[in-house]
């Protein structure tokens, strides 16, 4: 239904305070969502985030190993990333984002919410359009 709550949940989960008001109003830089809601014509829409591919094109494209696979989860080491955007070029889902932090850039992506059993976007989805399962 395109409510966008998954985006809010993602921002809050990856904020310092994990508080919705603080995350949106006080934190700088404000965390940006690591997912996207695509909207087409005739009301079609869906929420999309990294699929954590088994043989990920993004990791193959990364020039210096900033993207890596950790127990099946594709992660980005933001302190190693050089913002060359080879991952943006490679991801067939368009699920790696350019992020600016204090004047320098790095890529940013879904990390499946470490420490949570179910990612925040899935938990908040009001009509259970998002499902968390292994395929």
């Amino acid at each position: 239904m395109g409510c966008g709550l998954c985006l809010v949940a993602c921002v809050v989960e990856h904020s310092k305070t994990k508080d919705i008001l603080m995350a949106y109003k006080q934190e700088t830089p404000r965390p940006t969502p690591r997912n996207v809601v695509e909207e087409g014509e005739e009301g079609a829409c869906f929420s999309l985030q990294c699929r954590h591919c088994q043989e990920p094109d993004c990791v193959d494209a990364c020039v210096n190993g900033a993207l890596y696979i950790d127990n099946g989860v594709i992660k980005v080491n933001k302190d190693h990333c050089v913002a060359c955007w080879m991952c943006v070029m490679a991801c067939p889902y368009g699920c790696i984002y350019r992020e600016e932090r204090e004047g320098s850039w790095n890529s940013n992506k879904c990390d499946l919410c470490p420490g949570r059993d179910v990612p925040a976007c899935v938990e908040i989805c009001p009509n259970r359009a998002l499902v968390y399962e292994e395929r």
Partner: protein, 421 residues
């Protein structure tokens, strides 16, 4: 089982990882004629002006070699492959037997014979050592000329320019970046770079290097003379396949491999910039000397060397490039090969934004994104997966591409099936 890997860059490193996933016992010996742990070759031009800290140039640190128990022989070059005895001879005169061998020797810059080409101050850019040599010279360089306006040439020109040295690029073709941009895209980049102060000369080349012992100027084919005290030659890269040739392996423009990355000798594999493998856009074998392809081929070779069954389904050119702050991404073809293709473009070159897509029989064969690059990978995925796109094509020209523009069938496939990539 003893695996021998010649080359310690993208392909070699990924072969190690795949071998170890399948074989914890076998011995892995890795040769590199360079003295460094694996580093990011695409970042060496950043080194010229400290564009990224040296620690970010590291591709794998010492723990990688330790954890994977790699017997790493740095600064040692393999000089001969003896297929009869199944051993390699190295530059120290030592022989190392192999059961499975991987040739991941990459490429070397091609330097044509140029009159006066033996003067000092002429360099190529392919290795960290070459970048160190150039960087060392920069403080006493008043003006630099880069011969070749391809990817390496332009990134080198950027590095030298950013280090504060006036730089001129000389490119023989009518446009720069001919492999990754069409004429218009290149024009937009050239305009941007010239406004920043870089000089770019197209349709001309260096015919003579002038100078006593060191380069003092270059004379172009047009007769024009450019004073300079540093010349970078970056007109192309050729695969390092002398070893393979001498060993009698089948070679063409690269070492010929099958879909398992096996050469004409089933115990010898090749991967990366040295290998010639299937390109799904032009539908023939060719060398796609780009980082992501080297990684994938290395993984496939490594897996198969250790008894796995992985198949290379083909690749195609795909690049992301940033020059003095202007960003671009392109994939597949950049020019329409014939009239049977449909081409759509959006040209806002005056603000350095440009897009172009090439379609044939409902499939996208190529795309260019200049200036606005978000989610460009969706188009890369469309080429890779041979997705048909009939409606909504114009939408690719504006805003980030979306999966929702594509046929429902493809979306279902991509979003609900197990994901390989």
């Amino acid at each position: 089982m003893r695996y021998v890997i010649i080359g310690n860059s993208a392909a070699g490193v990924h072969a190690v990882e795949e071998i170890r996933k399948r074989d914890g016992e076998g011995e892995i010996v890795m040769f590199s004629r360079e003295p460094y742990l694996a580093y990011s070759r695409p970042l060496i031009t950043e080194f010229l002006f400290d564009g990224v800290p040296v620690r970010k140039m590291s591709y794998r640190d010492a723990s990688f070699y330790r954890d994977n128990r790699v017997d790493l022989r740095l600064g040692v070059e393999v000089v001969e492959i003896d297929r009869e005895k199944k051993e390699v001879l190295d530059s120290r005169g030592e022989r190392t037997p192999y059961d499975k061998l991987l040739i991941a020797t990459g490429g070397t810059p091609f330097v044509p014979p140029i009159k006066g080409g033996d003067r000092g101050g002429i360099f190529t850019m392919m290795t960290w050592d070459s970048a160190k040599a150039v960087k060392e010279r920069l403080p006493k360089t008043k003006r630099a000329v880069v011969l070749g306006g391809g990817l390496i040439g332009m990134k080198t020109a950027e590095g030298i320019y950013e280090a504060g040295v006036p730089t001129t690029v000389v490119e023989l073709a009518p446009q720069i970046l001919g492999r990754i941009l069409d004429r218009r895209g290149a024009e937009i980049f050239q305009d941007y770079l010239e406004k920043k102060g870089m000089e770019i000369i197209t349709g001309d080349t260096v015919e003579e290097v002038v100078g006593e012992s060191e380069v003092e100027a270059v004379r172009l084919r047009s007769g024009r003379v450019l004073e300079c005290d540093l010349l970078i030659v970056a007109i192309g890269v050729v695969p390092n396949m002398d070893l393979a040739k001498k060993a009698g392996l089948q070679v063409n423009r690269g070492i010929v491999v099958n879909e398992r990355m096996q050469t004409s000798d089933p115990d010898i594999y090749a991967a990366g910039d040295v290998a010639e493998a299937f390109d799904i856009v032009v539908k023939e074998k060719r060398v796609n000397a780009i980082w992501p392809v080297a990684n994938r081929q290395g993984r496939i070779a490594g897996a198969n060397m250790a008894g796995g069954e992985k198949v290379f389904t083909g690749e195609f050119p795909k690049n992301s490039l940033k020059l003095l702050g202007l960003e671009m991404i392109s994939m597949g073809l950049v020019d329409s090969p014939d009239d049977s293709c449909q081409v759509i473009t959006r040209d806002e070159g005056e603000r350095y934004v440009y897009r172009k897509f090439i379609f044939k029989d409902g499939h996208v064969l190529g795309g260019i994104f200049v200036g606005e690059i978000d989610k460009a990978g969706i188009v890369t995925g469309m080429i890779k997966n041979g997705v048909r796109m009939n409606g909504n094509r114009e939408r690719l020209l504006y805003g980030p591409p979306q999966l929702i523009y594509l046929d429902e069938e493809y979306r279902e496939e991509k979003l609900t099936r197990p994901v390989v990539s």
